[in-house]
């Protein structure tokens, strides 16, 4: 498989990830298009160390971080600072309300969202996701734990497990 084939093969996953990462469909497509541009511009430098997919995800995430930084100041409320709003009493039905999940994902802090989607949506191993995010595996694990717990609260599904008690006996 040529490098170009591998780049093409990575795109469906990148699109899926970008659409989950950004609520705006056009913004997601732009992100993937920019990522492809950058990968193609750099393919002559590709040194063949590591999978092409991971390389492209790193490019996409760098673009996303840069974009978030650039747009800072234009949004009045940082998504991170919004309080979680449980949407009712704890429920345990088999399926989740998809729109509710969509809204909750969008309100996760960006770091948690990036990490959670790599593992939960793209099915990456902890090692692969940690490599792409350039963070230690332990950091990734705690980030995933926080993301999952926040998601659970925001979809009103915080079940029987009590919140962690600290400093009590």
């Amino acid at each position: 498989m040529s490098l170009l084939d591998e780049i093409e093969a990575a795109i469906p996953g990148l699109r899926r990830y970008a659409h989950a990462l950004m609520r705006d469909r056009d913004a997601a497509e732009d992100l993937v298009q920019d990522c492809l541009e950058r990968a193609l511009a750099r393919r002559h430098h590709w040194r063949g160390d590591g999978p092409v997919r991971a390389w492209m995800f790193r490019i996409l995430l760098n673009l996303h971080r840069d974009g978030v930084r650039r747009s800072q100041g234009r949004h009045l409320v940082a998504v991170e600072s919004l309080p979680a709003e449980p949407s009712g009493p704890a429920r345990q039905e088999a399926h989740m309300d998809l729109r509710e999940v969509q809204a909750a994902i969008a309100r996760l802090p960006a770091d948690q969202r990036r990490a959670l989607l790599l593992v939960a949506l793209e099915g990456m191993s902890l090692a692969e996701a940690a490599g792409i995010l350039d963070i230690p595996e332990g950091t990734l694990v705690s980030r995933l734990g926080r993301a999952r717990a926040t998601l659970r609260e925001m979809t009103g599904r915080a079940g029987p497990r009590p919140a962690k008690k600290e400093g009590t006996t």
């Binding site: 780049i7 950058r38 393919r43 760098n62 998809l98 090692a127 995933l144 599904r157």
Partner: protein, 255 residues
């Protein structure tokens, strides 16, 4: 304390993400089997994953949008042809490395003028400022955020200071430099032994992307390259392989 110790969340995350070896997995599975709360958490996470797959899985099944297909098709038409800039860069690097007399020897290959202008001014700035004891930088690294913001504004292009901690160099700070058509940015780094290197960034409109090119003059040597409208040079008085690793790290981080 009543009952067994609750299963740690980290362990559940690792379990759910397949991040445990067989032995640890088996051991944890036994504890989970006796822990309804942990089972509920894992089931909830399964539902989260299922919801994400239902929401976004179909995107990956769609045919590629036209702009992406067009871009790939255009790239496929020039599959292995190297850009002229790349071929030139390779020739230059070989020549310069082979020429004991320094990087000016490479002039005979008719290099593009802006690149050499960058290399030349970067070398001169390097030599001028690394020797400075009292004022090596205008803005020190304790104001790194301000430094990057300021330089980005003056260059009219977002720039950032890469992290070379893995290579043993820490950011000292930076300064603004005059350039031919626009100001240039200089970041200076230092290692534990006081050796310094500089990274130069210059907006160079229309410059093609290129591979690394090697330059040297006296004890100072470095690499420079163009990428996405910016020209970069990394210069230091350190050995070429180490410098090359640092230039690669800069290149990777500036993606």
């Amino acid at each position: 304390m009543t009952g067994p110790e609750p299963i740690r969340e980290e362990d559940l995350v690792a379990f759910h993400s397949g991040g445990l070896d067989d032995a640890a997995r088996t051991a944890l599975a036994a504890r989970i089997a006796a822990d309804p709360e942990a089972q509920a958490v894992l089931a909830e996470w399964d539902r989260q994953d299922a919801a994400l797959a239902a929401l976004y899985g179909p995107v990956a099944e769609e045919p590629l949008p036209e702009p992406l297909r067009a871009r790939l098709a255009a790239a496929a038409e020039t599959p292995t042809r190297r850009r002229p800039a790349f071929a030139l860069a390779a020739a230059l690097a070989l020549l310069a490395i082979g020429a004991a007399s320094g990087w000016f020897a490479a002039r005979s290959t008719q290099p593009d003028a802006p690149a050499f202008s960058l290399a030349d001014s970067a070398l001169r700035a390097h030599v001028t400022y690394v020797a400075e004891i009292a004022h090596p930088v205008e803005v020190a690294s304790d104001q790194a955020g301000h430094l990057v913001q300021w330089l980005s504004k003056r260059l009219g292009h977002p720039v950032k200071a890469p992290d070379f901690a893995a290579e043993g160099f820490r950011l000292m700070g930076g300064r603004l430099l005059p350039g031919d058509t626009s100001p240039a940015a200089l970041f200076m780094y230092e290692d534990d032994t006081g050796r310094r290197l500089t990274l130069h960034v210059l907006p160079e409109g229309g410059a093609e992307n290129s591979a690394f090119q090697f330059l040297s003059s006296g004890a100072a040597q470095g690499f420079y390259w163009h990428d996405a409208g910016l020209s970069y040079a990394v210069i230091g008085d350190i050995d070429r392989d180490r410098l090359r690793a640092i230039a690669l790290a800069a290149y990777e981080q500036l993606i």
